[in-house]
């Protein structure tokens, strides 16, 4: 079985802070990491491979330094990695990103399963997985929290819903997006790290993908960012002090209306 796992390199949001003076994003020393959700996607791909055999290819679109994210997945145990990088890809929204990823999956041999994270922690859209499925003309199972069964022809998985979960069966090939609950990602092994350091990661550009220039990057993106700003900071809070029973009484007086209006 050939499994492709899509990983995105994102800034480590633990470090992203707002500069109080200029009110801009401080990114000094902000490390880049593999999108947290994508580590679950990688782990699940490896587990499927362990069960049914085959190859796992990690795929990322990004600037040349996104190479580092791919090496992390190689260290975890994926077999191959491919980086999609071209200045022409810059400015891609989810439409163009999913198109570009789809062109790369098409270029690969006999892909049976594509696994994405639920969403990326920078853009938080959760649109690329379903978008990719659509560009490839494939069925999808989103928000997967467990794979119940998988063989060469089909997959059965649990999708997390707001009200519970549902079990969905799909023929392969198919696209999954996974949530955190699905597994506990393994740590890279020493051997994996060594192999990752030495691995050759091919870079494919727009021409390699035979991509339509009108469908990639800025030109291929129907949405356009017109403004970026920092949200107004929350109003300074009030600290309540005193004995617990007094505090509780004061707090209830302040919150009673909110609670009553919510109940209505």
């Amino acid at each position: 079985m050939h499994i492709v796992v899509c990983v995105k390199q994102v800034p480590d949001t633990t470090d992203v802070r707002i500069d109080p003076e200029t009110n801009t994003l401080m990114r000094e020393g902000v490390a880049s990491i593999v999108n947290p959700f994508d580590t679950f996607a990688v782990e699940e791909a490896l587990r499927v491979r362990e069960k049914v055999g085959g190859t796992v290819t990690a795929l990322s679109m990004g600037p040349p330094q996104a190479d580092a994210a791919l090496r992390e997945t190689l260290a975890m145990g994926v077999d191959k990695a491919v980086l999609l990088s071209d200045r022409a890809f810059a400015g891609s929204d989810t439409w163009a990103t999913s198109y570009t990823l789809a062109m790369a999956v098409r270029k690969m041999d006999g892909v049976d399963l594509v696994i994405c994270g639920k969403q990326a922690s920078d853009g938080d859209t959760a649109q690329v997985g379903p978008g990719l499925a659509t560009h490839l003309g494939l069925p999808q199972i989103t928000y997967v929290r467990k794979i119940e069964a998988v063989d060469a022809q089909s997959i059965t998985a649990e999708r997390l819903l707001e009200t519970g979960y549902e079990v969905i069966a799909s023929p392969l090939p198919c696209v999954l997006t996974v949530v955190k609950e699905i597994n506990e990602p393994r740590l890279p092994s020493l051997k994996g790290k060594l192999a990752a350091r030495k691995a050759e990661i091919p870079t494919w550009n727009a021409a390699d993908l035979d991509a339509d220039p009108a469908r990639i990057g800025l030109d291929g993106s129907p949405t356009k960012v017109v403004k970026i700003f920092t949200p107004p900071p929350r109003e300074g809070g009030e600290i309540l002090t005193g004995e617990p029973d007094q505090i509780a009484a004061r707090l209830v007086a302040k919150l009673k209306d909110t609670v009553l209006s919510a109940a209505s």
Binding site: T142, T163, E166, A169, P222, F229, L251
Partner: protein, 403 residues
């Protein structure tokens, strides 16, 4: 060499460095002559520098203007009416509330799309909340949400009636569905919006949404394609009021059987066992973190939650310790919630947790560490032991609410 998509106009650049600070991707530096230089390998054309530059020294190529005349035929504001088992989800009413404002600003009709089985009568609930027309496809195959079928039918209706704007809830179903629709229709989709408005000049939909876990906000437009599509975060917009007796058109739409084919199949559906409210829907959330120390101590929170009609949330630390199911996790790798009231008990307030709850209207924090970052976002902070404070709070609420 093709013209780069973004460039610094050197004669305008004064070397102030504002753009360098503004760039989230570390793609701008000042050269020896104190002129900003953009590293195109790192630049994602996000536009943060354009916004920051006070000297008009950065220029970004506009997307190739298409045949925008083709946009003229698109009118009306549409809302995808999410329903489960014939019950309309409350996010739909929020979309109708917001959709009404947009439709009025554009002088267009507000319409709802209702897909399901045996749902035709439910259309009245949508006209009562302001829909001028409800497009209904009522077929047994649409009994519950299925990605391919729902997408195929929605795509067909959009092609048939050409809406200008199409909104859906940023729910599991909404996000899975409209991503497919937008790709097929070659149009833009903006995720998880918290603000929508009409630009009075261009009449474009201004879609504002948080990014980077809420650290920055971005306003996004879909200038050259229609419909302009967006998913909208639950609990941010005001629900449309019921206008008893208000009616509208109910248009029963026929669709070809081929659109109702699906490769995936639902094997079974298992509703959540926990009796408490679904937290994405909840108006009030009582959340617990590592400070609870033991799974049994969630009982303290459940009692408070029952008293005030709240759902139960949790930090990742509490979920990772297996004290409570993952579906209760709030934050970057859990759910994003936007309740009227969020009571955080024994939660430190790390940025990944805040990413999921900091847009709540009122935040109460109970934590014994006065330095805990949760106090920075709290409307009311209580520095104290939750094991003392929470029972008193439950008691006081019981009295106040006459329970």
């Amino acid at each position: 060499m093709p013209e780069p998509p973004i460039k610094v106009i050197t004669q305008n650049c004064v070397g102030c460095g504002l753009c360098v600070k503004a760039c989230p991707f570390d793609a701008i530096a000042l050269n020896d002559e104190k002129i900003a230089v953009i590293d195109l390998d790192k630049c994602t054309l996000c536009g943060a520098c354009l916004e920051a530059c006070k000297f008009d020294a950065i220029e970004m190529k506009a997307r190739e203007a298409g045949a925008d005349a083709a946009l003229d035929g698109y009118c009306d504001v549409w809302v995808f009416a999410e329903q489960t088992g014939g019950h309309i989800e409350s996010v739909t009413y929020e979309l109708l509330g917001e959709g009404r404002k947009l439709a009025d600003a554009l002088g267009m009709n507000l319409c709802a799309v209702l897909l399901g089985s045996g749902v035709t009568d439910t259309a009245a609930a949508l006209t009562e909340r302001g829909a001028d027309t409800v497009y209904v496809v009522d077929r047994p195959e649409l009994e519950y949400f299925q990605d391919e079928r729902y997408a195929a039918v929605l795509i067909e209706l959009v092609k048939r009636h050409k809406p200008n704007i199409l909104l859906s809830g940023a729910t599991t179903i909404g996000r899975s569905l409209v991503s497919r629709v937008a790709v097929t229709l070659n149009t833009g989709l903006t995720a998880d919006c918290t603000g929508l408005a009409i630009d009075p000049e261009s009449r474009n939909l201004l879609q504002t949404r948080p990014a980077f876990g809420g650290n920055i906000m971005a306003t996004i437009i879909t200038p050259h394609t229609r419909p302009q599509m967006a998913t909208v975060r639950h609990k941010v917009m005001q629900e449309a009021e019921v206008q008893s007796g208000r009616t509208g058109n109910v248009s029963i739409e026929a669709v070809a059987a081929s659109l109702l084919e699906a490769r995936t199949r639902r094997v079974r559906y298992v509703p959540e066992q926990e009796s408490t409210v679904n937290i994405a829907e909840a108006d009030i959330i009582v959340a617990g973190g590592r400070g609870l120390q033991k799974p049994e101590h969630f009982a303290l929170l459940r009692e408070l939650a029952e008293t005030i009609g709240a759902g139960i949330g949790a930090s990742r630390a509490a979920v990772d310790a297996n004290w409570i199911a993952y579906s209760h996790q709030v934050g970057q790798t859990g759910k994003t919630v936007c309740p009227k009231l969020y009571i955080a008990c024994g939660i430190s307030g790390q940025i990944q947790h805040l990413a999921g709850m900091s847009s709540a209207d009122v935040i109460v924090a109970i934590n014994k560490d006065p330095e805990a970052p949760i106090f920075k976002v709290a409307t009311y902070g209580i520095v104290g032991d939750l094991f003392q404070v929470v029972p008193h709070l439950t008691q006081a609420f019981k009295q106040a609410l006459g329970k």
